[in-house]
């Protein structure tokens, strides 16, 4: 059996005294698209932040590409090849669109992604490249945030609720670009509240409920009822 | 189901003990003229004034979140008001102390109006600028000695009391009394509704505001009251020194640096902190007396170490570890259940 690209093994993650994740384990192979779904507060963002190194598990471990990464600092994790598109976009307001993209390349990882290629993927960004990032619409900001993460040439891209606050047609357009994004063998974890979109895009699904994995399996094999039960915990 | 009501209680077992200890200490201190020598009385009087100044700064910074590095403005203002009233107006020095307070309070209102426009550390430097302005203005007052300052006339000193010893006792009791008054006022403020607002502001200003507390008004009240108290203490300090000058009256080192270090080391945001801090400060001063400016350097280093590794100060460490308080200031709910028939 091939070694997984990312192995999250039974992690417990706390915010101060509050435990947000209980023994969560997920696995992702190279080139795989995995979806993590769950209600608000289930721990989805916490999971991504832990993988990205913004938070560290108190128990359990995370292994990426064979090396332990659970306690690496975030700026180190991105150098190893994990990039996070944070919830709410969080572009830098003091930087222009192009500067936001450029700073994504700060970690200096080599790879196929460059400014030119991002502009090819999202032409609307090229038209607005010198505008402040805040001057973009929601959908355009989401594209810029994805582009910024891609500039670090990650092997694993983490997308935290990219559909949040966007019109369905915009969401569809962005998801339509996913194959172009993961085409080169990049792995992807998408966290979504839009279950339909998540199931369409992913091959493997995990459902979180109050910090625990309530359901997991290949996207096609999960029934609506099973998902509802796991999502809401009834 | 039993009927139960709740009431708010302040005291705890440790505070009962604390109040008793404080009461005993006060009696002993009041009797100091009868068991201590002149040097002891002077040292104690100086200690009391620092406890008062530090407690006032603690109220301002630790409770209201207004970190001022310019309180020397009011120390000096009080001092100059006293000397002005005594020398130019023939007013009795002790009366002058109590007149200086309200005048300083009035002066502090426009000062607050200006400095409150600044936030955080910029507010701090703004208060420093105001103190500098006061200092520069004071050195322009030629009838009070201009830049070199002026001494209290011998006639005034003699008129204060029948003998030198009586005068020293008088000033000692005044220092003790004024400090107790200041501390009592602070305790009363903290136990009042305003005090509850202050504690809320101290813990989380934004949350306090969204709960309907008029944060700016509370801060203004505290700023004015602190100016009031600081000026009175300043007047007393310089009455005891018998001489005033712009550089000594408005000295950042004496009236702000030491006060800040005392409060930080003792414990910001708790009323016991300044008292503990002052005792430590004076102890250190006696021990390190010969070192001159090295002494300030060490104090600064200790303050930094405390701020980084024990930000609640010495009393903060002890109080949290053992849950103590020396004075009944906490608020906890106690349920009173009615007897069942």
């Amino acid at each position: 059996m091939r070694d997984a690209l990312l192995n999250v093994n039974g992690i417990d993650v706390y915010y101060g005294d509050f435990q947000a994740l209980f023994g969560v384990s997920i696995t992702i192979e190279a080139g795989q698209v995995v979806a993590v779904i769950g209600a608000n507060g289930a721990g989805k963002s916490t999971l991504l932040r832990s993988i990205a190194g913004l938070m560290h598990p108190r128990r359990g471990d995370i292994t990426f590409d064979g090396a332990p990464s659970g306690h690496a600092a975030a700026f180190d994790v991105v150098k190893r090849g994990i990039a996070l598109v944070p919830e709410g976009r969080r572009l830098f307001p003091s930087l222009s669109v192009e500067e936001n993209l450029k700073i994504g390349a700060q970690s200096g990882r080599p790879g196929p992604w460059s400014l030119a290629r991002i502009y090819q993927l999202f032409p609307v960004l090229a038209e607005r490249k010198h505008l402040p990032a805040t001057a973009l619409s929601g959908g355009q900001q989401q594209m810029a945030a994805i582009g910024r993460a891609l500039m670090s040439n990650p092997r694993l891209l983490l997308c935290d609720e990219i559909s949040l606050g966007l019109a369905p047609i915009i969401v569809r357009d962005i998801y339509a670009q996913l194959p172009a994004i993961v085409g080169d063998g990049m792995s992807l974890i998408i966290v979504e509240q839009d279950i339909a979109q998540a199931l369409k895009a992913a091959s493997q699904v995990y459902c979180l409920q109050e910090g625990r994995i309530a359901l997991q399996g290949p996207a096609q094999s999960l029934t609506r009822d099973a998902i509802s039960a796991a999502y809401f915990g009834v | 189901m039993s009927d139960s009501a709740y009431k708010v209680e302040h005291a705890t077992r440790s505070s009962h003990i604390g109040v008793i200890i404080i009461a005993v200490a006060l009696v002993v201190l009041a009797a100091a003229p009868f068991w201590g020598d002149r040097q002891m009385l002077r040292l104690l009087a100086e200690l009391f004034t620092f406890v008062a100044l530090a407690s006032l700064w603690n109220l301002l910074a630790g409770y209201a979140g207004l970190v001022s590095v310019g309180q020397q403005a009011y120390v000096g203002l009080g001092a100059y008001l006293l000397f002005g009233m005594v020398i130019l107006g023939g007013i009795h020095p002790i009366a002058a102390i109590f007149i200086a307070g309200p005048i300083a309070a009035v002066v502090s209102i426009p000062v607050a109006a200006l400095t409150f426009r600044l936030r955080g550390a910029y507010f701090a430097i703004g208060t420093w600028v105001v103190a500098e302005v006061f200092r520069l203005l004071a050195s322009q007052i030629s009838v009070l000695g201009g830049g070199s300052g002026i001494s209290l006339p011998a006639s005034v000193i003699i008129a204060m009391a029948p003998s030198r010893q009586a005068r020293e006792f008088e000033l000692y009791w005044l220092a003790l009394g004024l400090t107790v008054l200041v501390l009592a006022a602070i305790v009363m403020l903290l136990r009042s509704r305003h005090g509850l607002a202050l504690t809320a502001i101290r813990d989380n200003e934004v949350a306090a505001q969204s709960n309907g507390i008029d944060v700016t008004r509370v801060k203004l009240i505290v700023y004015v009251l602190t100016a009031f108290g600081t000026a009175m203490i300043g007047a007393l300090i310089f009455l005891m020194k018998l001489r005033v000058s712009p550089d000594t009256a408005f000295s950042v080192n004496d009236w702000t640096a030491f006060v800040i270090f005392i409060t930080v080391i003792g414990g910001i945001g708790r009323i016991e902190g300044p008292i503990i801090g002052t005792i430590i400060f004076f102890f250190l001063r006696q021990t390190l007396a010969d070192l001159g400016s090295l002494y300030l350097l060490i104090m600064g280093a200790v303050a930094i170490v405390v701020m980084l590794w024990a930000p609640k100060g010495l009393w903060g460490l002890i109080a949290e570890r053992f849950g103590w308080q020396a004075l009944p200031l906490q608020r906890h709910l106690v349920s009173i259940t009615k007897d069942k028939p």
């Binding site: - | 955080g120 550390a121 104090m299």
Partner: protein, 289 residues
């Protein structure tokens, strides 16, 4: 009339020095929301470092900049990395009190090592050369050089902030520390670089201060206040505004001094308070607080 023009001219020129005091202060506030109370004392420290360098090596003060600037930058990096990074966070008290403690430590340390004697650095002929701009109006060469350097420093900062990768890193870290880390930026290092840059500017300002006038360990706080006043008068967030603020302060002080020598400092403070009263956001603000 020409007397007043001269006065104003001198005020403008010293305003450049004040703008340099202010630039370092406002750079740090912009990047990490830290106000360094020890800022003025660090300027004085730079002056003493320059004194030591010029005395030991026998070189001129302006030449000594080659050593003083990197030395101070290194001190700034270490100070931020080892001490001040620990104070950053939501609470306002720790950075304020720690930098206040640093201020006291630096002042008294300098006092112990160098005594309270007043010192001055000699730059040689450049100090007394003057040019006649027009009948009755003279500009000293040194004040002119100082002003030009100040403008160059501020222009350089603008270029650095808006056209370099380091400047991008500063702005991004100041916007959002967590996301900056997601970009691969070690924020501890970014903050330390900002402080190193601030101290490099302080080094230049300190050397010019030392050549221009007498200095002793106690004059730090006044320099902090001048820098602070220049920032507030000019407006937060704007480097060119800081230059304007410095000039306005310098001119106010010069006019005050002309009326009565004892009024020099007071005039500056009063102009500051008036601006604070009627236009608290400053004359050319870019961001609010």
């Amino acid at each position: 009339m020409t007397e007043w023009l001269n006065v104003i001219l001198q005020g403008v020129l010293i305003g450049g020095l004040y703008a340099m005091f202010a630039a370092g202060l406002s750079l740090i506030f912009g990047v990490m929301r830290l106000v360094n109370i020890a800022h003025g004392d660090l300027i004085v420290l730079a002056a003493y470092v320059a004194l030591t360098v010029t005395d030991t090596l026998g070189i001129g003060p302006l030449t000594s900049l080659i050593l003083v600037v990197p030395a101070m930058a290194l001190i700034g990096y270490a100070m931020q990395r080892l001490l001040l990074n620990r104070t950053l966070g939501d609470d306002l008290l720790p950075p304020l009190l720690v930098t206040f403690g640093l201020s006291i430590i630096i002042q008294n340390g300098l006092l112990e090592v160098f005594t309270a004697d007043s010192r001055k650095l000699q730059a040689g002929a450049v100090e007394i050369m003057t040019y006649q701009v027009s009948p009755g109006i003279w500009i000293g060469l040194l004040p002119l050089i100082q002003f030009i350097v100040a403008v160059a420093v501020i222009a350089g900062l603008q270029v650095l902030f808006y056209r370099t990768a380091l400047g991008r890193a500063f702005r991004a870290t100041s916007d959002d520390q967590s996301v900056a880390q997601l970009m691969g930026l070690d924020t501890r290092h970014v903050f330390a670089m900002a402080m190193a840059l601030s101290l490099a500017i302080i080094a230049i300002a300190g050397v010019f201060l030392a050549v221009r006038s007498n200095f002793d360990p106690a004059i730090g706080p006044a320099r902090l206040i001048f820098g602070f006043e220049a920032v507030i008068i000019g407006g937060l967030g704007s480097m060119w505004g800081t230059l304007a603020g410095g000039i306005i302060l310098g001119v106010s002080q010069a006019i005050g001094a002309q009326i009565d020598p004892g009024w020099q400092l007071l005039a500056g403070h009063i102009v500051f308070l008036v601006i604070l009263a009627i236009r608290p956001q400053g004359l050319f603000p870019k961001v609010s607080g």
